[in-house]
Each structure stands twice: as C-alpha cells, then as structure tokens.
C-alpha cells in the first residue's frame, strides 16, 4: 500500500516529465508500434478494400510463408543476405580497429588531425552519390578504372555488371567510406590509456609495435566486443539503400537480398501479405540472433549489451 502511494506521489511529481515524453511517445506508438500490430497481415489474405482487420485469415495460416520458402528466390535471397553480411563483418569490423591503432601511433599532432579529417570525409557522402561514384570509377569506358588499366594498355573489366564482383564492391566501398568514421569510437577508448603503462613498457624495453599489441589492443577489446555484438545481431539486416542502388539485371544473382525482395514483391507487385511474411521472417530471425549473441557474450564475459 505504501509503495503504491509512493508510486502515485512519484508520478504526480513527475507530471512535467511525462509531458516532455509525450510527443515522442505518440509518434513511437503510431509509427513504430502500430505497424508491429500490422504484421498480422502476414497471416491474412490482405485486401486493400477490406483493411487489416477485415481481411480474411489465410488458409492454411502459414500460406504466405510457405509460398516464399517454396519459391526459388527464397534460397538465393537468404544466402545472398547472409553472405554479404558475413563478408561485411569479416572486413568491416577489424579495419577500423587497425586504423585506430595506427592513428594512435601518429605522434605529429597536426598531421594526425589532418589525416583524421580526410579519413572521416567520405562518411558524409550520401548513398546515392556513393553508388554514383562507384558507377563512374568502375565504368570501363570512361572511368577511373578505365584510365588505370589504360596506363598498362589493358582492357578494363566491367565490374558493375559482374555478379561475382558485386559482394566485394559492396563491402570494400563501405570500408572506404566508413572506416575512418568507425574508428572514432576506438580512438575514444584509446585516449584513456594510463600513460604510466607506456613508461613501464619503455623501461622494460618494449618496442612501439609491442606496446601497440600488448597495451592498446587489449584496451579496446571491450568496445570491440560490443561493436561485434551489434554487428552479429544485425546479421540479417543488410541495408536496403546501397544494395538497391547497385542492383542491375546482370548482378541480380548475388545482389538480390531479402530487403530488396521485400520491396519488390510488396510495393511493385502489391503482394502485401507475402512481402510482410518475408519481412517478418527476417526480423524475427534477426531479433532471435541478437538475443542469442548477447546471451552468449554475457556468459563469456560481462560485456553484454542489455
């Protein structure tokens, strides 16, 4: 009873705070939580005229899911999504760490600052411009690659039209664009190194490389663990924007991922229910994965996310 009264008092005292929360809560409920309720159309035969409630349930209930899993696209899109994600993780995760270790070793402060500024720059290029740049650079007839191959009198390959080159272009251009920016968080961790550690290591005769490996690297491991959890928990979440822009008929075999497939069958062919089913399958798998990875890392150490 007293605890209830205390809660009541707490709420009364905090009325102003709830007022501050109100706008964001309203938007959140309408545009984030209401669509979560809308996923039930994955189990219905959605008709625009009947609405979400009025549309009949599918017979059998999982019809939309089985239709996807029986289609030939399901294997391709799932495989492409996972492979692209793993490739991204294998390259995109260690690169910023290595870069941060390098930047931390630069002793000239002005060069260091200029270097960082330049490496952060590509982060602010929009996805549209980034893909536009890729098309220009990699165009065999009039691009950078054509010029470079021309120096050696070679014929440049048409990489944007190649299905086997697509994952590499996607991943390495991402590294090019975001490596610098992603290193900031590790640099922040490095800035908290206790200088006496370096002094002690110097007295013991450690080289700079040894200091980097035995002092700096262990120091950023907790941060790295969290970043890895975040990435692993997003394994099925390859961003739509860049892949969609890079897609063409010739690289579709490796570039069709779940997100782009959901868009196409949903908004282009108006199969709302199937599209939602595919999307739901993706989101649920991804969420379970996140919970799993988080649980495992929490068991192993104490650097869980939540």
């Amino acid at each position: 009873m007293t605890s209830l009264r205390r809660a009541g008092k707490q709420i009364r005292n905090g009325l102003g705070l709830y007022l501050l929360l109100l706008p964001s809560l309203i938007l959140l409920i309408i545009f984030s939580y209401k669509p979560m309720y809308g996923v039930i159309i994955a189990f219905k035969d959605y008709k625009n005229a009947l609405g979400i409630m009025g549309s009949p349930w599918s017979e059998p209930l999982f019809k939309n899911f089985t239709r996807f899993f029986n289609s030939f696209q399901s294997g391709t899109t799932i495989r492409n999504t996972i492979l692209l994600s793993l490739y991204s993780m294998a390259v995109g995760f260690p690169m910023p760490i290595i870069l941060a270790l390098l930047i931390n070793q630069i002793s000239a402060p002005r060069f260091r600052k200029g270097f960082q500024t330049v490496l952060y720059l590509p982060h602010f290029i929009s996805t549209v411009v980034m893909v536009g740049l890729l098309l220009i650079w990699l165009s065999p007839s009039r691009g950078l690659i054509g010029t470079l191959f021309g120096l050696f009198h070679l014929e440049a390959p048409n990489l944007m039209a190649s299905a086997s080159a697509f994952p590499s272009i996607y991943v390495w251009s991402d590294v090019w664009q975001h490596m610098g920016w992603d290193s900031i968080i590790f640099l922040a961790a490095l800035s908290s190194v206790d200088p006496s550690l370096y002094e002690a290591a110097t007295v013991d005769g450690a080289t700079r490389f040894q200091k980097m490996i035995y002092i700096d690297l262990p120091l950023i491991l907790p941060t790295a663990a969290i970043m890895l959890i975040l990435r692993a928990g997003n394994l099925m979440n390859v961003g739509f924007e860049k892949v969609f822009l890079m897609q063409n008929d010739l690289n579709m075999q490796t570039s069709e991922i779940i997100a782009t497939y959901v868009y196409k069958i949903g908004l282009r062919s108006s199969q709302y229910s199937v599209s939602t089913a595919v999307n739901l399958f993706n989101n649920v798998t991804n969420f379970l994965l996140l919970v799993l990875v988080n649980g495992v890392t929490r068991k192993l150490g104490d650097t869980g996310l939540f």
Partner: protein
C-alpha cells in the same frame, strides 16, 4: 646498454617508416578518387573517355555545370531538401531532446519500461508494408510531412542525449532548484537546455546530415516529382539514367553520352561540396557526439 637503446630506436624508426607509408597510401586511396571527379567535371568529356585526364583537367570546360544548373528539377530538389532538412531537424530536436531528458531522470516512474519501449524499436520493427499502410492511413502518403514527422523519433539519439544529461547535469542543480520550488518543465527549459548546447548541436548535426542524405523514405512515400528531394533526383541523373544516352548510335549519341557523364561529375560536386566544406569546421561536434555515445555504448 647503449647499443641496446640504439637498436630499439632503430626498430622504432622502421616502425615510423611503415606507419607513415601506410598513412600516405590511405590518404591517396581516399583523396585521389574524389580528386579525379573534380578534375573530370572540368574536363572535356572525350579526354576523360580516352583516359588522358589523370592529374589535372584537360580541355577546361564548365559545360557540365551550366547544363546541370539549367535543369529545373535540380533546383526543385535543392529547395525541397533544404526545407526537409530544416523542418526535419527542428522536429527531431523537439521530439528527442525532451524525451531524452525525461528518461535521464532517475525519479521518473516507469523509467526502465519507457526506455525499453524506445530501445526495442532499434531491434525490431513492423516492416515495410505495415509501416507503409500506417503512413497511408494517416493521410501522409505523398505529402511534405511524411519526410519530416513519422520517423522523427530516434532511439539512438535519445540514448546519446540521455547519457549526456545523466553525466553532465549535476544532480545538486536539480535539488537546489526543487527546493526553490522550480517545477520539472521550468527546470528543463531554463536550466537543462541552456547547459546542453553541446548535445543539442550534435543531435542537430546528425539529424541534418541524415535528412540531407536520405532517399529511402522519399522513394517509398513520395510520388509527385515536385516533392522529390535532391537525392532522388540525383538517383535519376546518376544511376537510373546511366545508360539512357547509349541507346542511340553514331556521333550525336556519342556526344550526348559524354555530355551526360559530364553532368554526372558536376552533379556529384555540386551536391557534395557544401557538406565537405562545412564539415572540417564542425568536426569537433561530431567527434564529441560519438564520444558521448561511447560512454555507455
């Protein structure tokens, strides 16, 4: 003893040489491709096609820029993007900052639950079609507001701002104000906000850059071309129409194709240079933001 020291310094010199070589290579890899676009945008397109543009512009021309600026949809796109960025940033601040402050208060009843409501949306969502139907039902499809309102809440920004409020607003300040009879709202507007200019600018910059660069919402929710932001118009010029001029044959098609590629170089410069020029001056705010966010991950 002395010799050992020399050997160690020798190894460190080798280390420095390797370090600065890698740095130089990285600078080259980042800067040269961008520099290539700049010189190509000022060069005769046939010189670019023949591969002779390498270090400086060849056959200097401004044709790309004049052709680009004569396209009315580029101006429309610029106007729309500026409007979306300004309004979107204001709404983003108005929605996320107060929420972050409220959630930073330990005496807020139901704090963990409310925070959970926000964080959950970072890891799970209703998906494309249910969200699309909701937006449509709200009457926002193909309107100005769809670009700035429905997705203004950012759980990530709220977490970052909340961490800032938790760590940099002294608790004694609130206690003193409460003893003087200052209410929560008044404390937020007259004390907390003026002391939080750093986090306000960080969140404003993040939101603005995000708005400026986004195209997904426009692709899904906009149909009228006069509402299109610059990014969507650029998508047509840079990507979708990549091959439109190549369909014809002969001299005229060749010229049209080269002119189109010149327009593309100019388009990239015109759209990217503003942010690139402003960025070095505001870099410290961005760094600060990432650092604040890093405190709690």
């Amino acid at each position: 003893m002395h010799r050992r020291k020399v050997r160690r310094q020798g190894r460190d010199v080798v280390f420095d040489i390797i370090l600065y070589t890698i740095c130089a290579l990285l600078l080259l890899i980042i800067l040269y491709p961008l520099y290539f676009i700049i010189i190509a945008s000022f060069s005769d397109p046939s010189a670019v096609a023949s591969g002779s543009v390498f270090l400086y512009p060849v056959g200097f021309t401004l044709d790309g820029y004049t052709a680009l600026l004569q396209q009315p949809q580029v101006w429309v796109g610029y106007r729309n993007t500026i409007a979306y960025t300004l309004v979107g940033t204001l709404i983003g601040l108005a929605v996320n900052i107060p929420a972050a402050y409220a959630l930073s208060r330990r005496d807020l009843f139901g704090r963990r639950f409310l925070m959970g409501l926000f964080v959950f949306t970072m890891f799970f969502n209703g998906g494309l079609i249910p969200t699309f139907l909701t937006v449509q039902e709200a009457g926002l499809y193909n309107s100005f507001w769809v670009m700035v309102l429905p997705f203004a809440v950012s759980a990530y920004n709220i977490i970052v701002a909340r961490t800032f409020f938790e760590t940099s607003l002294p608790r004694e300040l609130l206690e003193a104000a409460q003893i003087d009879g200052c209410g929560n709202l008044r404390f937020f507007f007259t004390m907390a906000l003026p002391l939080s200019k750093a986090i306000l600018s960080v969140i404003a910059l993040w939101t603005a850059v995000g708005q400026w660069n986004s195209y997904f919402n426009a692709l899904i929710y906009l149909r009228s071309e006069n509402l299109y932001p610059l990014q969507l118009i650029m998508r047509n010029i840079l990507i979708t129409n990549q091959n439109f001029a190549a369909q014809g044959t002969g001299e005229a098609a060749m010229i049209a194709m080269r002119r189109a590629s010149l327009v593309r170089y100019s388009m990239i410069i015109v759209s990217t240079v503003p942010i690139m020029c402003v960025y070095p001056f505001i870099q410290k705010y961005f760094d600060q933001g990432v650092m604040i966010g890093a405190v709690k991950g």
